[in-house]
């Protein structure tokens, strides 16, 4: 078991510095805005002016998470991002296409994906292991797996999280591609302290995680994952999912009929997080917060198939004695 000692999220939901937010969330609507903290409280002005939205979210969210966990320097910083620093990438490419001569260095430097874990490290003055994973819709799961492996190797506290940012071009591209979606494209960041040992601060545990590319049969993959962890579908108190898992019009009924469990509680977390490649990190915080405030929840499964050929699975367990 890997223990979550702190969790922090910046999203459309009132999650930031707000334990119990899972009881007050509402589905996103057209007018709902990202709830940004006062970034000046977390980032020096000299650094802040250069940071795009995704970097501000990542540094502030991870900073709040470390403060919550009472950890000044984690043993490692591991971040997942599906699309990386899109604003700076767009800015740099637009300059490259329209400006003759020299190109501005800041947007170039900050357009690379590894800026994310790097900027967190720089803001902390941390010299530990530093990694940004990018595997599209399962980037967060891969970051989480990396953090779990580091704990297996003897590290004590890992800062693990994910962030993605929305730019208007994504809406345009999805329109051109006729992408069908039941929520809107947006931004979000979630960070966690993953610890080797249980403490008074432990919020929940991660029993296991898996990231599968080119998945052939999602329900079979989920069953094998549960079997491997000695958990039966009957043990699940809640399933948080994204995308088409069972492949039916009504996914909730699909889950229930697949496992022959009429009362299985199933929630499409994209309705609350909005769509971004690492929204499963929001789902993890949602699950942890829900577990903290609903003691009857013992096992929560997060099934991420935001992109049909990728599958991310996270099994969250309560840690009550």
């Amino acid at each position: 078991m890997y223990y979550i000692s702190a969790a922090s999220t910046i999203s459309h939901q009132p999650a930031f510095l707000n334990p119990g937010f899972s009881g007050m969330i509402e589905p996103l609507h057209a007018g709902s805005a990202l709830i940004n903290p006062d970034y000046k409280e977390y980032i020096e002005p000299g650094l802040l002016r250069r940071m795009s939205k995704i970097l501000r979210m990542s540094v502030a969210c991870s900073g709040a998470c470390l403060k919550q966990g009472g950890i000044e320097h984690p043993d490692a910083i591991v971040v997942g991002t599906g699309l990386g620093c899109l604003l700076d990438t767009e800015k740099f490419l637009n300059h490259a296409l329209t400006v003759k001569g020299l190109l501005p260095p800041t947007s170039f430097i900050q357009s690379t994906h590894n800026t994310m874990a790097g900027q967190i490290s720089l803001s902390l003055g941390n010299h530990g292991y530093n990694m940004t994973h990018t595997q599209n819709s399962v980037s967060f799961e891969n970051a989480l797996l990396d953090a779990m492996l580091l704990i297996d190797e003897g590290e004590k506290h890992i800062l693990a999280g994910a962030a993605d940012e929305h730019i208007a071009l994504l809406d345009e591209i999805s329109k051109q591609l006729n992408v069908r979606s039941d929520s809107r494209f947006t931004s979000g960041a979630s960070f966690f302290i993953l610890s080797a040992e249980k403490s008074d601060q432990t919020l929940a545990g991660i029993k296991d995680a898996e990231a599968v590319g080119l998945v052939k049969n999602i329900p079979e993959q989920i069953t094998a994952f549960l079997d491997r962890n000695n958990v039966s579908p009957e043990d699940l108190d809640l399933v948080l999912y994204a995308g088409s898992i069972v492949g039916t019009e009504d996914e909730e009924k699909g889950f229930q009929s697949f496992w022959k469990m009429e009362n299985l509680h199933v929630i499409n977390y994209l309705k609350y997080s909005g769509i971004y490649p690492t929204a499963s990190a929001f789902a993890l915080h949602f699950a942890v917060d829900k577990m903290q405030h609903t003691r009857s929840l013992k096992n929560i499964l997060i099934c991420n198939s935001l992109i049909q050929h990728n599958l991310g699975l996270i099994l969250v367990q309560s840690v009550e004695a």
Binding site: P45, G46, R49, G101, L102, P104, P105, T106
Partner: protein, 85 residues
């Protein structure tokens, strides 16, 4: 000359994302790279080279000139006028 200096202050704010600073906050002789002034750093120096080319069509070909050229808005304005002859 005064118009050029005001224009430069606006361009500095935009190019360097100097949030919460207005042109009125920058004096003509404010030191750009001093903590007593704007506190800019080496990446900003590169951005200023881009600024001169982008807005004024001037390439800084002698790097050794940079220290004096980018001392203040005054020195930048003088350099632009000198280069445009």
């Amino acid at each position: 000359m005064d118009d050029l200096k005001e224009e430069l202050k606006r361009q500095l704010i935009e190019q360097l994302n100097l949030e919460e600073i207005t042109p009125a906050d920058i004096d003509d002789d404010t030191l750009l790279f001093s903590d007593k002034g704007l506190g800019l750093d080496s990446i900003d120096a590169l951005e200023l080279i881009v600024l001169l080319e982008k807005y004024h069509g001037i390439q800084v070909t002698k790097p050794e000139e940079g220290k004096e050229v980018f001392r203040s808005v005054n020195s930048m304005a003088e350099y632009i006028l000198k280069r445009k002859g």
